[in-house]
């Protein structure tokens, strides 16, 4: 990548309830990072965090977007959704705590590990939310 270039940007749309397409953005980002020669361990952490964020939108929200920006030193991912929001973020961060519906649990999700997995796999994680409006998650991972 040319250091003079600003950055590479990717955008994806997510639809609430759409478990068929969940994971596609993460898969695309994984391919791009591989092509850029980023090491496997770093890629894994990034795509796991993004995948968990995607599934959160699909499982809980009405719709959302994923904005990815990759530059020389880091990747910044902003996942924004319109949805019920998170009333108590600290509680939601607790491993095992889940508000997933029965349908979502039947799909294999709702273990309550999504946000903890995101925290574990990112260098910076910022969550902002408003009840009955939506949630924005910003994740930054620095390349080695």
């Amino acid at each position: 990548m040319d250091p003079e270039t600003q950055s590479m940007k990717l955008t994806f749309n997510i639809h609430g309830g759409d478990f068929t397409h969940a994971g596609q953005p993460s898969s695309e980002v994984k391919k791009v990072l591989k092509q850029l020669g980023i090491d496997g361990k770093t890629i894994k952490g990034i795509v796991i965090a993004l995948y968990e964020a995607e599934v959160n939108v699909v499982a809980h929200a009405w719709k959302g977007t994923v904005e990815v920006e990759i530059d020389e030193t880091k990747i910044t991912i902003i996942v924004h959704d319109e949805g019920p929001g998170i009333p108590d973020i600290e509680l939601a961060m607790q491993a095992g705590y889940s508000t997933a519906s029965k349908k979502v649990r039947e799909m294999g999700f709702g273990a309550g590990m999504g946000l903890p997995n995101m925290k574990k796999n990112t260098d910076e994680l910022i969550i902002e939310s408003e009840v009955d409006k939506g949630t924005t998650v910003k994740m930054i991972n620095y390349f080695l």
Binding site: Y51, E52, G108
Partner: protein
């Protein structure tokens, strides 16, 4: 343990990735909860699950898991097989329960992650 041996122990058929049948895995993880799978720090494992939907394959894709056993006589959907083959994964299908599959593999020397 080779995937070939795992298939034999579990009386499993290979529905995808037959070329990987001599690949080795050291450990196993049995779960129907995909977010728990995503907490694992290693990828040298076979995922044993009864979850038959595309997200089981996506989870394996994100976690770099290359071998999956579907238990309880479940069959992978066409969508699952397409994604699995695209990612070079090996999918085995066993008629045994999750409990039996886990027990047999543990006995045969497959190590737990924890």
């Amino acid at each position: 343990m080779k995937l070939r041996e795992i298939a034999a122990v579990l009386n499993a058929t290979i529905s995808c990735g037959a070329e990987r049948i001599d690949d080795e895995v050291e450990m196993g993880y049995s779960s129907d909860l995909m977010s728990d799978v995503l907490t694992l720090d290693t990828d040298n494992l076979v995922l044993i699950t009864g979850l038959v939907n595309l997200q089981a394959i996506r989870t394996a894709e994100m976690a770099d898991i290359r071998a999956i056993v579907l238990v309880r006589n479940k069959k992978a959907t066409d969508q699952m097989l397409e994604l699995a083959c695209e990612n070079g994964m090996c999918i085995l299908e066993s008629p045994y329960s999750l409990f039996k599959s886990s027990g047999l593999l543990f006995q045969a020397g497959l190590k737990p992650i924890y």
